[in-house]
């Protein structure tokens, strides 16, 4: 479970600090897939980094309740760029989070294999990142996150750089993996349609500093079909919430 309680964050700048998030509260129960949408620069990525512990909020509290106490990495992140280490082969990249001395070499190999299988890249372990396509690299990044078996998966526009076809196939893959593993997912995206297609609940952030504009549950049954009428209604509702006020 993730619980953000009246979180505020500002970056120091020339003169006055820039407020990025203000009075932001959100609770994500365990196993829920929550998508965060909103225009650029509204603090979506910042929010994920706060949850990941990469940034400390100036105000409020962040509580992460891990399901298991023995996992050294209960929260893990998938970035917009795959961010693979170019000097490591795919298997080395997938095993990156398993190098805290918590798993034996044999168990590590097994988990790397399982994670690659989960994202449909079995047999690619001995290649280097530059030998893979953009979509495959993003799958590796997902496998790297899944290999550590986190309770919470943070995803920062992970499919934004991909072409439409690859993007849709990765969305389906993620839905399947989420259904199979039951992980808590916090998924940032620009795309309202992507959010509505994937998530149990869509949270809209708007304004500067970013505040919670709407939180709308998506009740459509899974597996979902693209462009189903009820999702269209929710998407329209979100667009309304996020629309810029007309210039005076």
């Amino acid at each position: 479970m993730i619980k953000l309680d009246r979180v505020g964050l500002s970056f120091p700048g020339d003169g006055a600090p820039t407020e990025v998030l203000k009075d932001f509260s959100l609770t994500v129960p365990a196993g829920r897939f929550v998508a965060i949408v909103g225009p650029s620069g509204v603090g979506k990525s910042t929010l994920l980094r706060v949850v990941a512990g990469l940034l400390s909020p100036n105000e409020g509290t962040v509580t992460i309740n891990a399901d298991r106490q023995d996992n050294p990495l209960p929260v893990v992140m998938v970035f917009q760029d795959a961010r693979l280490l170019p000097w490591r082969k795919i298997e080395g990249n997938v095993g990156f989070g398993l190098e805290h001395g918590q798993v034996s070499a044999a168990a590590r190999r097994e988990r790397i294999h399982a994670a690659l299988e989960l994202v449909g890249l079995e047999g690619y372990g001995h290649r280097y990142p530059h030998e893979l396509s953009g979509g495959q690299r993003q799958r590796v990044a997902l496998a790297r996150a899944l290999a550590v078996d986190p309770d919470i998966l943070l995803m920062d526009e992970p499919f934004a750089g991909l072409d439409a076809i690859t993007r849709e196939s990765l969305q389906d893959e993620l839905s399947r993996i989420h259904a199979a593993t039951g992980k808590t997912v916090l998924f940032v995206t620009h795309s309202i349609d992507e959010a509505v297609y994937l998530a149990d609940e869509v949270v809209a952030i708007a304004g500067k500093p970013g505040r919670l504009a709407a939180a709308i549950p998506v009740a459509a049954p899974r597996p979902r079909t693209r462009g189903a009428p009820e999702s269209a209604g929710i998407a329209a509702q979100l667009r309304e919430q996020l629309a810029e006020p007309p210039a005076a």
Partner: protein
């Protein structure tokens, strides 16, 4: 251009160079004492080799070279990486670096003699100082240039301590830049070898100075060629090692 054609042209260039060199003293353009023709070199080498001086000199210089190179580069890379990782450390060192950096290697000779005497240690010191700065700035620059995103990745995957970041991300990411600097150092150290032996530490450089004082220009050329050969062998080996370490690069 095909590979074969390039080799033919390279061989042709070298032949023309040697021919002009041979002809200059033969035609009396320059006296043979000033410029010994290539044809005179094998005999000079044989004399130098059979007396055992050549081999002993090469061995002594090679030892100074390797010791100076390893010590200078280890300190340079170590300090460069540390400076690259810590902004406060860099700030603390910035003026010290500005004071010491412009001093040429030769200017350290008096101190080398004072501190170490006429001893191989003095030569090793001179060589070490020369390669220190090359490897220091290469490592500093390479560490500075490491993609911040990869460091954030290390953070996101729980590698929060500086030593973990160093091993997991910074050193491998900076390796291409550091190795390029080390390759420059491998060449530069040979130039320092001559400078480090001119005050009497035995080796190639000293033997060269003796020969030059005796106007034995053929011996000087022998040692010039020896040094070129040593450099060629070591550089080739280094490039092989470098491409092995960086085989992940496209």
């Amino acid at each position: 251009m095909t590979r074969g054609r390039a080799t033919v042209l390279a061989a042709l260039g070298l032949t023309v160079f040697l021919a002009i060199w041979e002809l200059m003293p033969a035609l009396g353009v320059v006296p043979a004492q000033i410029l010994p023709p290539p044809s005179a070199l094998p005999r000079a080498f044989e004399r130098e080799f059979s007396s055992g001086i050549w081999f002993a000199s090469v061995l002594l210089s090679l030892r100074n070279y390797l010791a100076g190179l390893v010590i200078g580069c280890a300190l340079g890379v170590g300090l460069g990486v540390a400076t690259g990782m810590s902004v406060s450390f860099e700030a603390a060192l910035s003026w010290v670096v500005r004071v010491l950096r412009p001093i040429p290697g030769l200017a350290w000779v008096p101190f080398a003699i004072l501190w170490f005497g006429i001893d191989p240690a003095a030569a090793i010191f001179i060589i070490g100082v020369g390669v220190f700065w090359i490897s220091y700035f290469a490592a500093l620059g390479a560490v500075r240039a490491v993609d911040r995103d990869l460091i954030e990745l290390a953070d996101a995957f729980g590698f929060r301590r500086a030593d973990q970041k160093l091993v997991k991300v910074i050193l491998p990411a900076a390796a291409p830049g550091i190795l390029a600097g080390l390759r420059t150092a491998v060449g530069q150290a040979w130039m320092a070898v001559v400078a480090s032996e001119i005050f009497g530490v035995p080796g190639l450089g000293q033997r060269m100075m003796q020969a030059s004082n005796l106007l034995a220009s053929d011996i000087v050329v022998i040692y010039m060629a020896t040094m070129a050969a040593c450099y060629g062998i070591i550089d080739t080996g280094f490039v092989a090692l470098q491409s092995r370490l960086l085989r992940w690069k496209r």
